[in-house]
């Protein structure tokens, strides 16, 4: 082989090797992005009904993935002693929540000093709510004779419920926050009486 041919082959090998290593880095970064952004609830420590929570959120005991997941999806979370966070991105039937569908969420007030259920869009920010309703909470929830609250989400208002308007083609994420949860609930998060999440009718 001539000297020129030798160097040409060497350059080709270096280029292919470099491309492979760049590909490996992209694969590593892409998989990290997927784990943190697209599948952030892969490692819940508690699942109750449609709701999942990671009890190490905000904690100094959080592992590598929990810390990163919380930073990406729920930055500045508090520890479970102060606040417990439950997230639902599926209904009770296991179907992914979608903003263009209507849902009815019913339950009893959780054992906490104060609580709220908030609807978030796929980008984890609030929906534009013309009625100013962003959450149902311990202050504005009306309980029926059985002590049950009811709220609805979706493009259409449902009679007899507190309506959180949602819109757009993306996902819907519900967050249940419990401020100063009762010690018994802190000790046994799975004892939460999970609000039911049911799809109503067909999607827009």
């Amino acid at each position: 082989m001539s000297k020129t041919g030798h160097w040409s082959l060497r350059a080709k090998r270096i280029a292919i090797g470099g491309a492979l290593y760049v590909g490996a880095v992209v694969l590593g970064l892409g998989s990290a992005w997927w784990v943190l952004k697209k599948a952030p609830w892969l490692n819940p420590s508690v699942e109750v009904g449609a709701w999942r929570a990671n009890m190490h959120a905000g904690s100094q005991d959080a592992g590598l993935y929990t810390r990163a997941t919380i930073a990406v999806n729920a930055l500045l979370a508090l520890g479970r002693d102060e606040t417990m966070y439950f997230v639902a991105n599926r209904d009770d039937a296991g179907e992914a929540l979608r903003a263009q569908c209507n849902y009815r969420i019913t339950g009893v007030p959780p054992q906490a000093r104060w609580w709220s259920i908030t609807a978030y869009a796929q980008d984890l920010f609030l929906f534009d709510a013309p009625n100013g309703h962003y959450s149902l909470n311990g202050s504005n929830a009306t309980l029926d004779a059985a002590g049950t609250f009811a709220l609805s989400t979706g493009p259409a208002e449902q009679a007899g419920t507190y309506w959180l308007p949602t819109s757009g083609p993306g996902a819907l994420v519900l967050t249940l926050r419990l401020y100063n949860p009762a010690p018994a609930l802190q000790a046994a998060p799975q004892s939460l009486v999970a609000p039911a999440v049911q799809k109503i009718g067909t999607c827009a």
Binding site: G23, A68, V72, R113, N137, R177
Partner: protein
């Protein structure tokens, strides 16, 4: 590996090194994500605009237009401070005399919540904390005797004060002066 040819062995190590590279990139990204997000929160455009470096700042009430931090609670009125202990301790004071929930939470530069104090814990008393670095700094300044000291695991971090608001417009006249009792600055 004894039965492999030199050529096969070479390819084995090439594939292995690619997998190790991908794994390291993955782990580095997962490790760096919270730190990078916190850095942007403390030093990014919003922080610059609000002038929150060792100083309390008071963002507007949360609405659908609030798009700085994901999952903002529409029921909390936030006040913030990006603390920096490089030049010595930072003193945090607040006296929001409110009957509803409020809290002051401190976050390390890796996003860990290392301290929280809420209204029930203060029992009506004002908050007065001296935030000091866990590791010695060039500018070690003394903290007054008897002061409540909180040790921060990192030299920089973020303070987030939450004040519960069930109807901001109706409560504004009470909540705004209450949260503006927050002070955060070099002691």
């Amino acid at each position: 590996m004894k039965n492999f040819t030199e050529h096969q062995r070479l390819w084995f190590y090439r594939v292995l090194s690619l997998l190790v590279t991908a794994l390291l990139a993955h782990l580095l990204a997962v490790w760096a994500a919270p730190r990078a997000i916190m850095y942007v929160l403390m030093h990014g455009p919003m922080a610059q605009k609000m002038n929150m470096h060792n100083q309390a700042a008071f963002p507007e009430a949360v609405t659908a237009k609030s798009r700085t931090v994901v999952m903002p609670s529409p029921d909390m009125l936030y006040s913030v401070c990006a603390f920096d202990l490089h030049d010595g301790p930072v003193r945090v004071q607040a006296a929001p005399t409110l009957t509803n929930y409020w809290s002051i939470a401190l976050y390390a530069a890796n996003s860990d919540n290392f301290f929280v104090r809420n209204d029930r814990q203060t029992q009506g008393r004002a908050v007065d904390l001296w935030l000091v670095a866990a590791s010695p700094t060039k500018a070690q300044k003394p903290v007054p005797a008897g002061a409540e000291v909180v040790v921060s695991p990192t030299l920089t971090g973020f303070l987030l004060m939450r004040v519960l608001t069930t109807d901001y417009q109706a409560e504004k006249a009470v909540l705004e002066p209450a949260r503006r009792t927050l002070q955060c600055g070099q002691g």
